[in-house]
């Protein structure tokens, strides 16, 4: 079996590093990334190589047989998410190593939490049964809450507490749904559910609980209230990790489960409702982002808006033609990956701009384009992708979603994509407008370390590049999926 050593390593290694980093002296914790990152990158690439050569497969952990053993699914979607996580998390770690020098107390706890977060995420991408997904969600969620609290100011603690309560409520709703499904069908595995699940009251109640729980964790409008303070108030590398990756975990579960249960079980009405909530998120999030005065709050509300696009997936794959469903799958995943890269870049470059002017206020960015062109350039590239303008991953995603919406005859989603794009342009250009303004002459700005700028630029550039070279990634992501074979 290919990738034998690397599949379990993807979560065993971060777990081990997490524990190890708790044992070593704080000064050594940051340095562990020089061991951890190369190994994780190697493991991720090995898994990709396995996928490319041998196709999607199921890996049995310790060769135990399910249900007591744990099955891991290594298909295109999982590998895609793993690679995305490795890229974003590695770069954020490099950023954090420099950034956290000014925050020594936070620094010593950031590193263990990062590894646990990473383990939780990789656990989610690989899990094949709905209970291990729960465990992954919890590991990731608790680590994320800890990261939000790192700043230790009252605002940060309140944000962390609110996030924790939302996350716990969400997990319990999900867990109860899992319990009902197990009670009804006696199986936890996706494959088992796919065969056994029928449309009855128990399934519908379980599905409703699971959806509610996951929506709360994904922060879909109108359950998003916890997100802006948590993402906007955290330390910059933490914001990037949370906005780019963590919210995708619960969405990923919902997406998989939706396809596994299939059109007999998943009601079209719910699908449309999810789409409508997504549309609400796009409009409300965009509007709120435009109204913000703090740069990072603006970026956080932009996440609320961008999550909305992902939920157009459900109406576009439910009871539509195979071609439309394939396009929706491609478009949603492109959107997901592009958002991860662009949002991480946006948060990191926003952090750089804040470091440069020493203030989180957007209005203090007057004339900054003269002093920090590189930070602003990264911000701009990431913004291009978020606005869905070409050439970028966001554009390619929008193109695919538009295509799918027209093909499935659901023209009303076109309006969402149309207005959503203009709204995001409004809030991105709000920042630019300020930066180009020649105001009271600030003749100096603090120069942040070069690493910070370079990391943000690399992420932003990859958000652009992935749009131009989307063919191969989308081909991989389709491997082993229930859609996209047509």
């Amino acid at each position: 079996m290919i990738g034998l050593w690397s599949v379990p390593l993807l979560f065993a290694l971060p777990l081990a590093l997490g524990i190890l980093s708790l044992l070593v002296a704080p000064a050594w914790r940051a340095r562990l990334i020089f061991i951890g990152l190369p190994l994780l990158v190697a493991a991720s690439l090995d898994v990709l190589a396995g996928l490319a050569t041998a196709g999607p497969q199921v890996y049995r952990l310790g060769d135990w047989i399910a249900p007591l053993g744990i099955n891991l699914v290594v298909d295109g979607l999982a590998v895609g998410m793993i690679l995305m996580t490795t890229l974003v998390a590695s770069l954020s770690a490099l950023y954090a190593r420099v950034y956290l020098r000014d925050h020594p107390p936070a620094s010593s706890f950031f590193w263990p939490l990062l590894w646990f977060l990473w383990a939780g995420m990789n656990g989610i991408w690989l899990a094949e049964d709905i209970f291990n997904l729960y465990v992954g969600l919890e590991v990731m969620g608790l680590a994320a809450v800890g990261m939000v609290a790192l700043r230790a100011t009252p605002q940060a603690l309140a944000a962390a507490m609110r996030y924790l309560l939302a996350a716990l409520l969400g997990s319990l709703a999900y867990l109860l749904g899992v319990a009902l499904l197990y009670g009804a069908y006696g199986t936890l595995s996706m494959a088992g559910l796919q065969e056994a699940a029928t449309n009855n009251a128990t399934t519908q109640v379980a599905l409703a609980l699971i959806i509610l729980g996951l929506l709360l964790k994904t922060a879909l409008f109108p359950l998003h209230a916890w997100l802006p303070p948590a993402h906007g108030g955290a330390l910059t590398p933490v914001s990037a990790l949370l906005s780019a990756l963590v919210i995708k975990g619960s969405f990923y579960i919902l997406m998989r489960l939706w396809l596994v249960l299939g059109p007999e079980v998943t009601p079209e009405l719910t699908a449309q409702l999810l789409g409508v909530l997504g549309a609400g998120a796009v409009f409300f999030g965009g509007w709120m982002a435009w109204r913000q005065h703090h740069l990072k709050q603006l970026v956080a509300y932009s996440t609320v808006a961008q999550i909305g696009y992902l939920f157009l997936f459900f109406p576009l794959v439910t009871n539509t033609s195979p071609e439309a469903a394939r396009l929706a799958w491609d478009g949603t995943l492109m959107m997901l990956v592009a958002h991860a890269l662009a949002k991480a870049a946006l948060f990191l470059s926003a952090g750089n701009l804040i470091l440069a002017v020493g203030s989180p206020q957007i209005s203090h960015l007057v004339g900054i384009s003269r002093f920090r062109p590189m930070s602003l350039f990264s911000f701009g590239l990431a913004g291009v992708s978020l606005m869905g303008l070409p050439p970028s991953g966001g554009f390619t995603a929008k193109w695919l979603l538009l295509h799918s919406a027209i093909l499935s005859g659901q023209w009303w989603w076109l309006i969402v994509l149309f207005l959503g794009g203009l709204l995001s342009a409004a809030y991105i250009f709000k920042v630019f407008r300020m930066s180009f303004r020649e105001g009271p002459q600030i003749d100096r700005s603090v120069t942040p370390p070069l690493t910070l700028d370079v990391v943000a630029l690399v992420l932003a550039a990859s958000a652009i590049v992935i749009g131009l070279f989307a063919h191969l990634p989308l081909h991989w992501l389709r491997m082993g999926s229930m859609l996209g074979m047509g």
Binding site: P67, L68, F131, Y134, V135, E138, L142, V145, G146, A149, A152, T153, P154, L157, A158, A160, M161, R162, L164, L165, L168, L169, S171, L172, L175, L176, V178, A179, L180, Y182, G183, A184, G186, L188, A225, P229
Partner: protein, 102 residues
């Protein structure tokens, strides 16, 4: 599924009841400790449903037990984290509840 409130199903239904009670407490209360307790009650409810439903005449099924044990570990960890954050929040702000939506 005949006789919903008879035999083994009594556990599952109590679980649902507990979950509902906990949910009510979670939403109704503002004091963070009470909300935390309510969360734990919800958790116990969910575990009870897991174990209760699994006794559906299939003989002894070890899987739900494994799950519940894992679930309890997770719940303990969550509670511990919540307590830490709560304590620091209390020290920093002197409040036992969250400032309402800003």
């Amino acid at each position: 599924m005949s006789g919903a409130i008879s035999g083994y199903m009594v556990f599952a239904w109590s679980g649902v009841l507990l979950f509902g009670l906990g949910l009510f407490g979670f939403i109704a209360h503002r004091h963070l400790l009470r909300r935390l307790l309510a969360f734990n009650i919800m958790g116990s409810g969910a575990f009870l449903v897991l174990v209760g439903l699994a006794q559906d005449g299939r003989g002894v099924d070890p899987v739900p037990h494994a799950m519940v044990i894992t679930g309890i570990v997770v719940a303990v960890a969550s509670t511990a984290l919540a307590l830490v954050v709560f304590r620091r929040w209390y020290r920093a702000s002197g409040r036992t509840d969250l400032p309402e939506d800003t």
